[in-house]
């Protein structure tokens, strides 16, 4: 419903129409706000307010033994990029934290891509099962996560360690003669992340794909398209909302992942999650931890904004 442009001279009739339209629009807006209110209120109260505390912390001084001292200071942000040399005290650019950030981002990105490559076919397969079986598949994907993350990760370790199941089988078969080192490498971390986040890609994709009618029997006939072309040109663009949702739900948590990379990666290389946790732990530098987190969030926010702009504003007819 578009707000009518009033003719040059407004008649009583057109005025009534305009007023009715304005009232309807107000009601429409109220519905929008009303529906989103519960989410907004809960998150504002219990998500944003606590976050404000962290923003404030990032501009304070670190306490002697942890915690913060109420003096304004931008030390946290400065020390993110610059560090003082221990001999002469001069500030110099230090890429330490950037290296850690970059590694986490690359790993998270790789995980997202692999999740997508594996998850799309899986979701497609699930969405094309007979309707009665689809819900079963959703459960099948979800059930493994009813166990505990730590125990699952330990089981993964058991499978890929040097004397683990995979190596034992391969050695026994004679395929290899020395165990393949898989544990405590980047591979192990990605495997762990893939394991944890696969449902986060599959389920949104499934939700998006499931609404498609796959009995497009005549699809692409006149175009002499092959199966692959139909997939590429028609189905994937239609599944875009699911793809983007899945990628966001995998990439963002994967950047800040803490437990899985710690256990499977061996700890020789820090990821962002562990780095920030360290600041609240033995490094006793809460302002720095807060600043690091906020810098991370700023980057992610930009990506999210991009997503919002590209998917909203599609003017469609709606229920009046």
């Amino acid at each position: 419903m578009s707000v009518a442009t009033l003719p040059a001279e407004s008649t009583p009739a057109s005025e009534r129409v305009a007023r009715a339209q304005a009232v309807a629009r107000k009601r429409w807006l109220r519905t929008r706000w009303g529906l989103s209110a519960p989410a907004l209120i809960i998150i504002t109260l219990f998500g944003i307010l606590p976050l404000m505390i962290m923003v404030i912390y990032s501009f304070l001084e670190a306490g002697e033994y942890g915690g913060v001292v109420w003096n304004f200071s931008t030390d946290a942000y400065v020390s993110f990029l610059f560090q003082r040399d221990i001999f002469d005290g001069t500030l110099s650019f230090s890429p330490d934290y950037l290296v850690i950030y970059l590694r986490s981002i690359i790993l998270a990105f790789a995980t997202t891509v692999i999740c997508l490559v594996l998850g799309f076919p899986t979701a497609y397969f699930m969405a094309t099962r007979p309707p009665a079986r689809r819900q079963l598949w959703v459960f099948l994907i979800t059930i493994p996560f009813w166990s505990n993350l730590l125990v699952r990760t330990l089981a993964v370790m058991l499978i890929i360690r040097d004397e683990g199941i995979v190596n034992d089988v391969l050695l026994w078969l004679g395929v290899i003669d020395k165990p393949i080192v898989m544990l405590f490498t980047n591979f192990a971390v990605m495997l762990g992340l893939l394991y944890s986040f696969l449902p986060f890609m599959v389920l949104p994709l499934y939700a998006s794909l499931e609404k498609m009618d796959f009995r497009l029997v005549e699809a692409g006939f006149d175009l002499y398209a092959t199966r692959g072309k139909v997939l590429r040109r028609i189905i994937i663009p239609l599944a875009k909302p699911g793809i983007v949702a899945g990628c966001l739900l995998v990439f963002i948590p994967a950047i800040g992942a803490y437990v899985t990379p710690l256990i499977l990666g061996g700890g020789k290389h820090l990821m962002i999650g562990a780095l920030i946790a360290l600041q609240f732990g033995s490094s006793r530098n809460w302002p720095l931890g807060s600043a690091q987190a906020l810098i991370l969030m700023a980057g992610v926010l930009i990506a999210l904004l991009f997503y919002v702009r590209s998917t909203t504003g599609k003017a469609q007819a709606f229920h009046g």
Binding site: A62, E64, Y65, G66, G67, Q83, I86, F87, D96, Y97, V99, I100, L154, M157, R161, D162, E163, L183, F184, L262, I263, G266, G267, K268, H269, L270, L275, L278, F280, G281, S282, S283, R284, N285
Partner: protein, 344 residues
């Protein structure tokens, strides 16, 4: 449902909970390290005093510190390590319960009374103590293990087979001992030496993690930095593992029972502190997590093979354990830099 009936049921429930709390002698809320409290100890305490005990766990001093600092935790007893006790006393988080005036105080070993974190024991009571060094699987290396060179300049058969603790202080202090420079020293030249040593040694390490036990028992590593009790438990599964007593010095630590200033059950907490100083109870604490304690006379209540194991009773000639106070903020900043540099 009949409203009156509901009200009666509610009142009855209220009365029941109130009387049960009163009749049982009150409650005690303990916040301790995970898997660190002998259930038999709690049972004994509950039976002797009628106090109902709840037990929750934390996995690091810093987690506990963050919660206590935020306030209003509802816990009565916490069990901080030595340096954390000093921090908590200085920040006014602990109640001055004067264990030195309690009846069982006479059992405390003299060397644990005037320690740096609680001189004269006005706040805390010893729980357990131990040392931090490393364990070596002697099946893989037969030479002398009593030196930090094993960690920082290992023989070829151990290169790439070492696990270090994911603990800034333990690793850096060990490096300082190996180099012969003071702990928490602020001399930039020394700190640079530490940084260089750690960078040089990093390729020899396989992992940096607290998960020492599964790594040794499954053969992922052959050497691990760990605590004495840990090493003893590993030895029980892998008999060729030996705990080292490095000649350059060994780190000591002690966990202590402290009462929070805002503890809701102050008297019960004090009763628990006194309870823990009894030799028989101290023995219960020790044998559960496999560490020594600071109470005299507890040896005769412990199984002989435990009390005499080389991890608990240090061989003669080994260095005295050194308890290290927390470093100053300036030094810690540099430590953090070294640690991040190492882990990036």
């Amino acid at each position: 449902m009949n409203l009156r009936l509901l009200g009666l049921a509610g009142a009855a429930a209220l009365v029941m909970t109130a009387t049960s709390a009163m009749a049982a002698g009150g409650e005690l809320h303990i916040y301790n390290w995970g898997n660190y409290t002998n259930p038999k100890l709690i049972e004994k305490f509950q039976k002797e005093t009628g106090i109902k005990v709840t037990l929750d766990n934390y996995d690091s001093n810093e987690t506990m510190l963050a919660k206590v600092r935020a306030g209003g935790t509802g816990y009565d007893i916490v069990v901080p390590s030595d340096y954390t006790v000093k921090i908590m006393i200085e920040e006014g988080m602990l109640a001055e319960t004067h264990p030195n005036q309690m009846p069982n105080f006479k059992n405390v070993k003299p060397q644990f009374i005037d320690i740096y974190w609680d001189k004269g024991r006005n706040y805390t009571v010893p729980w357990q103590f131990g040392t931090t060094a490393f364990g070596v699987n002697t099946a893989k290396y037969k030479g002398d293990i009593d030196t930090y060179a094993i960690l920082f300049d290992p023989p070829d058969s151990l290169k790439g087979r070492i696990n270090m603790l994911d603990d800034e202080m333990s690793v850096i202090h060990a490096a300082e001992r190996y180099l012969g420079v003071p702990r928490c020293g602020s001399d930039p030249a020394n700190l640079k030496k530490v940084n260089d040593l750690l960078q040089k040694a990093k390729p020899y390490w396989r992992t940096i993690s607290y998960d020492t036990e599964p790594k040794m028992t499954s053969g992922d590593v052959d050497v691990t930095q760990d605590w004495n009790g840990d090493s003893r438990r590993i030895r029980l599964q892998v008999p060729t593992v030996k705990y080292a007593y490095p000649k350059e010095g060994i780190e000591g630590w002690m966990d202590n029972v402290a009462v929070l200033k805002d503890a809701p059950n102050m008297e019960n907490a004090k009763a628990f502190q006194n309870f823990v100083m009894d030799p028989e109870n101290a023995a219960l604490i020790s044998e559960f997590a496999s560490y020594g304690n600071g109470i005299t006379g507890s040896d005769k209540f412990m199984p002989a093979d435990f009390a005499n194991s080389p991890e608990i009773k240090a061989p003669p000639g080994s260095p005295t354990p050194e308890f290290v106070p927390p470093c100053s903020k300036e030094v810690l900043e540099i430590y953090n830099k070294i640690w991040t540099n190492l882990r990036k």
